[in-house]
């Protein structure tokens, strides 16, 4: 064997290893991923009197995370994601008000199942469509559910909602305090479980197939992927997670009204996700936190014109951070790395 042959054989081996290594390592936890959780825990100690607000932020993170699965990874554009949030919210609300089923944790499971079922059925029909058609159909689904609730206001309480719900103490032990400390930790724990689940999915072969559908659906058909089944599966999972977020919303607020199905709610969660950055898991954290903190700040600053602040922020995001806040960080990081090199 000539020397050059041996050389190219070893360099080929090295190229192989490098390529394999990349895929083998990709799903491992990186140290930076601990950051959002550390912040969430730090907030618990630094702002003990803002825990109610903190819980709401975490709930929106979970809601946005569920949207990231379908929008960010599978590329399904929907304006009706609040439908599943609402189903979850009403599952625990109605169970507590009408059936005296007030155990919170089993309520989360019930909400996940109900929302998952609705997600499966609507997804089965709607996910044959794409683009604007799908946008309209998902929007219509949420409105239809809302109107169904309105029609049977004897059960749902209509737009007055179901006020003054009570839930059992967690594990029969930890009751709710006025400042919502228990709830904050409860929501944080639920989010951690859901996040672990979502992260597994995203890095699984199934998750890869979802990105394939987003990147090029024609090619997915051509390589034999059961595209519709994949989409319905992920839509069902995302619906179930949105349902859990809705259930937590009802439990932490102790009331629920039909406004959870509002178009506003669907649009807001999408704005949060896009603001944070789609298809990167942590976009949901950044987007929901930034949006809600600014909304809170602006509304205190100017109770009449606070929406102007939110609007301005969105315009800036569209102009300068099209891939969201995380995308912006990424670009800056790349820029600095290149400058360092040269």
């Amino acid at each position: 064997m000539a020397v050059s042959d041996i050389m190219s054989a070893t360099s080929r081996e090295r190229a192989r290893e490098r390529a394999a290594e990349y895929l083998l390592r990709r799903h491992r936890f990186r140290p930076a991923e601990a950051l959002p959780w550390l912040i969430a825990i730090a907030v618990f100690f630094i702002f003990p009197d803002r825990m109610t607000f903190g819980s709401q932020v975490l709930i929106m993170v979970m809601f946005a995370l569920s949207l990231d699965l379908i929008l960010g990874y599978a590329g399904i554009v929907t304006l009706g994601h609040a439908a599943f949030f609402g189903i979850g919210a009403y599952t625990v609300g109605l169970a507590a008000a009408r059936l005296q089923w007030s155990e919170p944790i089993s309520g989360l499971f019930a909400a996940a199942i109900m929302a998952g079922i609705v997600g499966f059925i609507t997804g089965w029909f709607l996910l044959r469509y794409r683009g604007l058609t799908l946008l309209m159909l998902t929007l219509a689904t949420a409105i239809m559910l809302q109107e169904t609730g309105n029609l049977r206001s004897d059960i749902s309480g209509g737009y007055d909602g179901l006020p003054g719900l009570t839930f059992n103490p967690l594990f029969g032990k930890f009751d709710y305090d006025l400042y919502g400390h228990t709830y904050y930790l409860y929501v944080l724990a639920a989010l951690a479980v859901v996040f672990y689940f979502v992260r597994r999915i995203v890095y699984s072969p199934f998750g890869q197939a979802l990105t394939g559908i987003r990147e090029n659906v024609r090619r997915m058909h051509a390589i034999g992927s059961p595209v519709h089944r994949r989409l319905v599966t992920v839509y069902t999972i995302a619906a179930a997670i949105a349902g859990v977020a809705g259930a937590l919303f009802t439990q932490t607020n102790a009331y629920v009204t039909l406004t959870v199905f509002d178009f506003d709610n669907s649009a807001k969660v999408m704005v949060m996700l896009i603001l944070g950055g789609t298809g990167r898991l942590y976009g949901a954290f950044v987007g929901a936190a930034v949006y809600m903190v600014l909304e809170d700040y602006f509304s205190k600053l100017s109770p009449t014109f606070w929406q102007f602040g939110i609007g301005l922020m969105l315009v800036l995001a569209v102009l300068f951070a099209r891939r969201g806040v995380l995308g912006l960080f990424e670009s800056v990081g790349q820029y600095l790395a290149e400058r360092k090199k040269s």
Binding site: R12, A15, R16, R18, A19, A20, Y22, L23, L24, R25, R26, H27, R200, I201, Y203, S204, P205, F206, G207, Q208, A209, T211, G212, E215, N216, R218, R219, M220, H221, A222, I223, G224, S225, P226, V227, R230, T233
Partner: protein, 255 residues
């Protein structure tokens, strides 16, 4: 022996325009057949009918003797029918390696798994790299597809089709859009394909056709004009008039 692919009296129209008219086509195992014809002859439509991207209005498609006319595109792909596209259809935002791993994952049903990590199966990665190696793409394995020059992207297109381990492969102008300085790379790959795979290649370049194909089918205005060996086709008066004649005519204008 049953043919790898049989097309029987296939018809398809878009409105009043019949783009596929009573087409019969057979690919034996290991066939090397070229499909030629002037622009608008319905070549790509025929490929779309065979792969299931379009449904025929009448006629049948058989893969290894089984009727697949009613099967979905994905179902056909899982049964061993692979294609490349005239215009690249790749996962542009993913790395070349991921493009291949996804194909292998869908082929073997790994992609039904929601829990295991995608990188956990070393055998998939190894196979993907093997495919890349045989097409000399290993050095590009970790590059995003959209960062590759077009010629290399065309190779990824072929690599994906081969990673499906097809028994029938349809190549829709594999060298289209590639500068001639690079097209030999692609044609070498096409010439070296596994002799067991039945290949149908659509190609405009007559040098490629005569170099590669053992049989040629000529499609004109949606219907098969004639088929035969390259010699037959070259000596066929009708083909010259309709197809090669047209080319000559065009050449005359330029010269």
């Amino acid at each position: 022996m049953t043919a790898a692919l049989e097309v029987e009296r296939l018809n398809r129209a878009f409105g009043a325009l019949a783009v596929t008219r009573d087409v019969n086509l057979t690919l034996e195992r290991g066939a090397r057949r070229a499909l030629i014809g002037p622009n608008g002859a319905g070549k790509t439509t025929l490929v779309n009918l065979i792969t299931g991207a379009l449904k025929p209005h009448s006629g049948r498609v058989l893969l290894n003797g089984e009727d697949i006319t009613a099967s979905s595109q994905a179902e056909r792909a899982r049964r061993g029918l692979a294609r490349t596209f005239q215009i690249n259809q790749l996962f542009r935002g993913l790395t070349v390696l991921e493009n291949l791993c996804m194909t292998i994952g869908e082929r073997d049903g790994n992609c039904n798994n929601l829990w295991r990590s995608a990188g956990a199966k070393r055998s998939v990665i190894d196979e993907a790299i093997d495919h890349l190696e045989s097409l000399r793409l290993v050095d590009d394995a970790l590059k995003l597809v959209r960062e590759l020059p077009y010629g290399r992207q065309r190779l990824v297109e072929i690599a994906i089709a081969l990673a499906q381990k097809p028994r029938v492969l349809l190549l829709d102008e594999p060298a289209a859009g590639v500068p001639s300085s690079e097209s030999h790379l692609i044609l070498d790959v096409v010439a070296a394909l596994d002799p067991d795979i039945a290949v149908l290649i659509i190609e405009h370049d007559m040098d490629v056709v005569f170099r590669f194909a053992k049989e040629i089918t000529v499609l004109v205005q949606g219907a098969v004009l004639t088929q035969g060996t390259p010699e037959d086709i070259m000596n066929n008066e009708q083909v010259r008039d309709v197809y090669l004649g047209q080319e000559g005519h065009r050449g005359g204008h330029h010269g």
